[in-house]
Amino acid sequence: MKKLFFICALALVIAACGGKVNSSSTETSGETGAETAGTTEQSGYDPNRGEGKFTEVKLGEKLDHAMAGRGKQVADLKCTSCHKLTDEKLVGPGWAGVTSRHKAEWIMNFMTNTDVMIDKDPKVQAMLEICMVRMPNQSLTDENARDILEYLRQNDGVK
């Protein structure tokens, strides 16, 4: 029962797979999406940073290759069954461009504080209406999340 409750709506995110998805339910989901966004605006919720333990993530100008390498390993184990590296949606949105669409803090908070962000973040909720699967919390450590972020940057062309 609990699981059914869990399931009755939700999706997976990180990037915007919005307009690029051919969904037969696009029209109806547009309406409910607007409603959801309207009713769940949280006072004090920062849609740029998201919610979670990361307030300031320092990014190097150049890519940290060791970090990105570790990030790839973790992502292959826990993430890439649902995310493609391109802009194509699989179960969740494709990863291409994600680091330009979202701030580093937002991405890391979402990876580690997934359920809270799914419930609060307007962009995540809009994404949920499209993907229809709630992104699982994959029990990433802080280090895992940072490594994956570096891998996402690599994917977005940071050298």
Partner: protein, 664 residues
């Protein structure tokens, strides 16, 4: 809500008075106080105060209830296959049900004991016994799964088990049936019982760190029936007490022939001394054949090992090891109070409860105040060991537990009641009817040094009239009493699975805080794990095909498999890539004779499938996992034996063979 519950309760009470006033006991309807509903009501989203672990009797399993609500939280598979959890169906768990007789798919689980440190419940492990094919199991309370099962040789009807010492040094397993030893010729006349049949008490050591069990030694005793036991504690901590019946050594119509003598015995065992003798090498190594099964949480695999030997101490050769205490009449329960000084015997055919004193027993041993011997074992004088008797307590006393405030509570099977009495002066303080024929009872920590004397639960054998009828078979039941005041108050009764024998109860915070939520993928050492979807593959080795498959909301990888042939042994090794609490995935394939799988987050589990026909066989997730759960599916194509369809697998694209076919 509360008001509603109250009115349901009072309505039920009125019904009981109207319809069942003829039932015994007479006060069936009005025993429940008007505040009972409020005391057992646990609001949605709130947790219960206690975990209650209840033996499942002939179901072979252990059930877990929340108290005070009486809600069933989980059934833990132990000695029987369990379709809900794939226990005994997955290749990894099959070895757990192995015995020296082969796989036993359905056992008879009787008693339970929670591990203790310094005589108090420590929340680490739960021990369970199997009666029919003698075995003892250890359940890990981090995962609520059976971690280990050890078979007991030279034993039959493993009844006085699995009771433990106050630091979980040993778990005991006393044989109910005496039998010829396994390494002797058992092809003897049954009427030669007195000569050829022996009883054994087995002491299984428990490694302090990881709980691993080992059959440390066995005591060899004269042929009779051993019934129940409890360890001493505090001053009596180095001793174990076992009730025995059939000191007549009868072998037929025991109903009559084992009830002839006025008194049987409680056997007092100095286990510290036995341990010392074994350490000195005084035990005899005897050939035996028994299995030891272990489940590893890192390889997600069970192993079954054949053990070949056991160490036996024949008590005849060690005069200071065991003593017999006469106990009226056919004693059943044998319970030690929280101070460790008082040992309560319950002669199930006696109209009194004898209470023995540990210090008097020690004095009688020192002064050799004996009343002859039995099979070479000194028998203490009854009066020399007796603290006193509870007079006219009721009919059929079975089991006693303690509230830590100086009171004892005894179940009466024949007169269907629980009687509260004072240990100090042996006076009866209260009695409450039960519905009907209670066997065991439990109080949280009621067999330890530190009882949590708030609730008492009686486990009843008969429930006719108590619930809606369900054909000839009715659920057995538990009845919850509030024992925080002077008088016991009935709060709730609820059905149980199987036949509840013993039970254990512990405050929720001792156990809940350690509960494991997932298996970490990085720590998954299953030899057939698939670490990430990219590693999923299908490998043929002769007629064996290994499918390395992953499951993630909401697809399997691969989801199209071709090139399987009729008669192949196909092993689906399914790794659940989820790392989120409470998200198992199921796996079922059409027509498989070995059922299904249920795979926990981060776990690998294997289903064996031998296709018998050609065709297309769908597989799918059997546990509703996401809005796209119905889409979590795939196909296997089975071709005739010797077919030239190449082995192929894919996800998200057609196989090359298919592309070829479509082109044509």
């Amino acid at each position: 809500m509360r008001k509603f519950l109250y009115s349901v309760y009072s309505f039920a009470s009125v019904l009981m008075l109207m319809n069942f006033s003829g039932c015994k006991p007479k006060s069936a309807g009005d025993a429940t106080g008007s505040d009972a509903a409020g005391k057992v009501y646990v609001a949605p989203g709130k947790y219960d105060e206690m975990y209650n672990f209840v033996s499942g009797g002939f179901s072979g399993q252990v059930s877990v209830y929340g108290i005070p609500s009486g809600r069933l939280l989980r059934v833990i598979p132990v000695f029987s296959v369990d379709p809900e959890k794939g226990w005994g169906y997955s290749e990894e768990t099959k070895p757990m049900l192995n015995t020296s007789h082969g796989e036993v798919p359905w056992g008879d689980q009787h008693h339970l004991d929670l591990s203790q440190t310094n005589g108090e419940i420590d929340g680490r492990w739960l021990f369970a016994n199997e009666n029919n094919t003698p075995r003892v199991a250890r359940i890990d309370l981090k995962t609520f799964r059976t971690a280990e099962i050890i078979e007991i040789p030279n034993s039959a009807g493993n009844h006085s088990s699995p009771f433990i010492t106050e630091n979980t040094e040993y778990v005991v397993a006393g044989t109910r049936f005496s039998v010829p030893l396994d390494n002797e010729n058992g092809d003897v006349p049954i009427s030669s019982y007195k000569k050829n049949f022996k009883g054994t008490l087995s002491f299984i050591s428990v490694a302090p760190k990881d709980g691993e069990m080992k059959l440390a030694f066995q005591l060899l005793l004269p042929g009779m029936n051993f019934d129940l036991s409890h360890s001493g504690k505090g001053p009596s901590g180095g001793w174990f007490f076992f009730s025995c019946y059939n000191s007549e050594q009868a072998h037929t119509l025991l109903e009559v022939n084992a009830s002839k003598r006025d008194k049987d015995y409680i056997l007092a065992v100095n286990w510290k001394k036995a341990e010392e003798y074994v350490r000195q090498g005084k035990g005899k190594k005897v050939k035996a054949n028994y299995t030891h099964n272990k489940y590893s949480e890192s390889t997600h695999n069970a192993t079954s090992t054949n053990e070949k030997e056991t160490i036996v101490l024949d008590v005849k050769d060690f005069p200071d090891l065991v003593y017999m205490i006469p106990c009226p009449k056919s004693p059943h329960g044998c319970d030690v109070d929280p101070t460790g000084e008082y040992i309560v015997g319950s002669g199930k055919l006696a109209a009194l409860i004898p209470v023995f004193s540990f210090s008097k027993i020690q004095k009688a041993i020192a002064n050799k105040t004996y009343d002859g011997s039995y099979g070479g074992i000194p028998v203490l004088k009854y009066e020399a060991a007796l603290y006193g008797e509870v007079k006219k307590p009721g009919l059929g006393p079975l089991h006693t537990e303690f509230d830590g405030k100086g009171n004892a509570y005894t179940t009466f099977f024949i007169s269907s009641e629980i009687v509260k009495w004072s240990i100090k002066d042996l006076k009866i303080l209260d009695r409450q009817p039960t519905y009907y024929s209670p066997g065991h009872l439990t109080i949280a920590g009621g067999n330890t040094k530190k009882p949590y004397g708030k609730y008492l639960i009686a486990y009843n054998k008969i429930t006719k009239d108590r619930f809606l009828p369900t054909g000839p078979e009715l659920a057995q039941s538990a009845q919850l009493f509030d024992i925080s005041g002077d008088k016991m108050k009935l709060l709730l009764d609820y059905p149980t699975i199987g036949e509840p024998h013993y039970a254990q109860m512990a405050p929720a915070d001792l156990i809940a805080k350690n509960s494991q939520k997932i298996f970490k993928l990085e720590e998954n050492k299953n030899p057939y794990v698939t670490m990430g979807e990219k590693n999923s593959k299908v490998v043929r080795e002769g007629n064996k095909v290994h499918v390395y498959m992953t499951a993630m909301r909401s697809h399997f990888s691969p989801d199209n498999i071709e090139g399987i042939q009729v008669g192949d042994e196909v092993y689906f090794h399914v790794t659940n890539l989820e790392q989120d609490w409470d998200v198992p995935h199921g796996f079922g394939v059409k027509g498989n004779l070995n059922a299904e799988l249920l795979v926990m987050p981060g776990e690998t589990s294997t289903l064996k499938w031998v296709p018998k026909k050609t065709g297309i066989f769908p597989f799918y997730c059997t546990d509703f996992c996401s809005a796209l759960h119905q889409e979590m599916q795939g196909y296997v194509r089975v071709s005739p034996k010797g077919s030239n369809v190449p082995l192929s697998f894919s996800l998200g694209k057609n196989s090359e063979a298919a592309e070829e076919a479509l082109k044509k």
